[in-house]
Symmetry: C2
Subunit: 464 residues, 2 copies
């Protein structure tokens, strides 16, 4: 056992410290393809243990990589500088679901899907629904401002964080916010941590805002011959007061790939398929369904219909969730992009993505949350071939650049992580990135927290 492991074993139960390669392998990557071995893995069970490990690492300049379920799509949990991976899944208690204040307080390692089921069993509702909700954690969701299909109506994780507790690199514990939706006291430290991707400290506890479960819900499906008219229909719908809780788009490539995996009986020769969910008061749901059908027809829909029953609705939702597994099955490797543009720029963005695919001779399926402009181009590549990786990376960079040209952002819900760190200045300019660097130093003066993420240029780390 090395000195590092011995030291860690003095801070937390030695059965929760790992240093053997066979144990470390599970911590080399997230849902991206970059892999690096950490020096050790520690699984704390309390904020105090997190504080002890951070204090130790901070004194020695050892990188610390906080990790939820490792489902990130931007390389945020890859230990590129070696160091310690903090496996936070054992901080997994739901501390309180407060029905009267409509809040919940949970530890960072609580699994999102589990939390949602607990909340819904009480007639309450926690909307953020990232694709990986069966395994991903609330802490990871907060650290990346994770979203999901419901973002169009309900926003993303950031819109539900009322307060949080975090451990700073020096081992001190801060907390910001509580059970009130109103707060105007001091700098919004909760929102600084939200989306900080483990680079400022470790989020250990979160207080979340809950809603009351909508009493009614309907799923519709619409197939358009043209993508432009589908996108126009979406903007018109929302501007006319419909409040869809999901507005997903699949292009022809995505539908073809999906139907190979799960037959849906969709016509294969159309350009755009929308999955539309409306929820809320039954009367409003009825009206919104009628409005969806009316507007879709105005914009030349080929077919639009409400799911016949709960079973068909469930099948459609499951099909959407199966999209990336389906694509992954069809392709050796898949880079899922996260470029986000204003809703009205979706057609322009889709055209740009197609031009980029053409130029670099890569296959790109286009799906995504069309209602909020958050597209997920799926760039198919094979990482065994450097040329394939190079072309995929070029396409990714061009997609990012194009999203910014159209008034968008580098990431809607995945984060910057490792993959998009080189592009950060494109979005925020030198002044913005320089300010972010100063902010990072204010939280983490020794630069131990998740080096190389967001701001790039990770410090050379300890590999022990």
């Amino acid at each position: 056992m090395t000195g590092l492991l011995r030291d860690l074993a003095a801070l937390v139960d030695p059965r929760r410290v790992w240093g053997d390669v066979e144990d470390l392998v599970a911590y080399t990557n997230d849902a991206t393809h970059r892999r690096e071995l950490p020096a050790a893995v520690v699984a704390p069970e309390s904020a105090d243990e997190v504080a002890a490990v951070l204090r130790y690492a901070n004194q020695r300049g050892i990188p610390v990589i906080p990790r939820g379920a490792g489902t990130g799509l931007a390389g945020g949990a890859v230990p590129v500088s070696g160091g310690l991976v903090l496996d936070l899944k054992r901080l997994n208690r739901i501390l309180e679901i407060d029905h009267k204040n409509l809040t919940a307080t949970v530890e960072c390692g609580v699994v999102t899907g589990h939390f949602q089921r607990e909340v819904e069993a009480r007639g309450l509702f926690y909307p953020p629904d990232p694709q990986s909700l069966a395994v991903c954690t609330i802490g990871g969701n907060v650290a990346t401002r994770a979203g999901g299909p419901r973002g169009v109506k309900y926003g993303t994780t950031k819109d539900y964080v009322l307060g949080l507790e975090a451990v700073l690199p020096d081992g001190s514990v801060i907390s910001y916010g509580g059970k009130s939706v109103k707060m105007s006291a001091g700098y919004d430290l909760a929102r600084v941590f939200t989306g900080s991707e483990g680079t400022l400290g470790v989020i250990t506890k979160v207080t979340l805002r809950l809603l009351v479960l909508p009493p009614s819900r309907r799923i519709m499906i619409a197939a358009f011959p043209e993508l432009d008219s589908a996108a126009e229909a979406v903007s018109a719908l929302i501007a006319r007061g419909a409040e869809p809780s999901m507005l997903e788009m699949l292009d022809r490539i995505a539908v073809t790939s999906l139907q190979r995996y799960l037959p849906l009986g969709l016509p294969p020769d159309l350009e755009a398929f929308l999955i539309i969910e409306v929820d809320g008061h039954p009367a409003k749901v009825e009206e919104d369904c009628a409005l969806v059908a009316e507007v879709c027809r105005e914009y030349g829909v080929h077919e639009v219909r409400v799911a016949r029953d709960a079973a068909e609705a469930e099948r459609i939702v499951q099909a959407r969730r199966a999209l990336f597994p389906a694509a992954a099955r069809a392709a050796p490797n898949l880079v899922i992009e996260d470029a986000t543009v204003p809703r009205t720029q979706v057609p322009a963005m889709v055209r740009a993505i197609r031009r980029i695919a053409e130029r670099h001779q890569v296959l790109i399926s286009i799906t995504g949350h069309i209602g909020d402009g958050n597209l997920h181009p799926g760039i198919i590549m094979d990482r065994r071939f450097p040329e394939s990786v190079r072309r995929a990376e070029q396409a990714m960079a061009e997609i990012a650049r194009e999203a910014l040209n159209l008034g968008g952002t580098l990431s809607g819900e995945h984060g910057i992580g490792l993959l998009k760190a080189p592009f950060l200045e494109w979005e925020f300019g030198e002044a913005g990135v320089s300010l972010m660097r100063r902010l990072k130093r204010a939280f983490d003066p020794h630069g131990i927290m998740n080096p190389g993420k967001i701001l790039g240029g990770g410090t050379a780390g300890v590999r022990d």
Copy 2:
């Protein structure tokens, strides 16, 4: 003309630089009672002019106090260290109302009420409704995370800021965010500026999220013999799925004072009056009205009824808005507190405020946004008498302490400013405040931005 004024006149049109005492007097205070004279006032008309003034002040260590309409209730715009007041009211263009993306982009000096009317004329909706909306500015609202009665359903200004542009003390301009509700790129600089009360830089432009105007709206009024049962009714209402867009409470002192000013025909011997607004789909509004009546009866209401017509509804809303003017007329000076607790702690908070009023022999009316726990105790005092000021200040400090004991926050929607800076550590501890100081230095290394606010201990400033 002094050197300072000459220098400023070289940076902006001399007709927008003032240094005479008679001109400066209008800039000595906000809606609180503390007054200090600045050295000069400058009214820039563009972000470039703001940058030029900031660069100049930063090089010389001259305090800069950004100012919207001066309606703040925490002393945030009082030039306690002298220096330059930046009057931002001329940056007052609504740059865009984007119906399809449901966003608006405005300069910081746009008046909130004017903006709301423009938006509503297009069938859209910007919910935040601070008491002073007829004069206050969007920039000031963002800088203080201003709220209002609609917070219970719609949140506060912070929940509508999608992006902003700000000038840093060194004159560089940063911008963060855009038209998408989804964004996960870098540290959330927009949210750091939101609520920063002019201490980090100057917010010059804001992109706001809009909603579609709710088609239906109803006002109800309910009178309870007991405050506890009114508060219980409120929690029950929300937990049972009603979504009131306003849930205001007035205690007996407030109602008495109000009825002297505007007769409402309310029985004078009851403890708690609620003004309840519901909005949304007509069917949902009908059901919520029925639910409000049912729940109020369960909790022993004396009388509950829907406003007979639009005229009566308008009269009730106007009455609520008249509350502070009415109190101000009755009292020499009024300190409006902003303590906020979880909704369920409202009865405990009200009892605590009454104990505090009794102990210090001060008259405190209790009103506020009971639905979100944001109370506004009105502490009546006379600033001509030091003993009266001292007692009011003691009461204010104890109210703040009590709100924190009950799991609340120092401020729900006014900000910390000057008045509550001494209490900051009570809420965030030494580690939290120390982190906020480091964050402040990352943005404003020379400490020129609005010294003495939020973090206290203003630098000795230039009075010229």
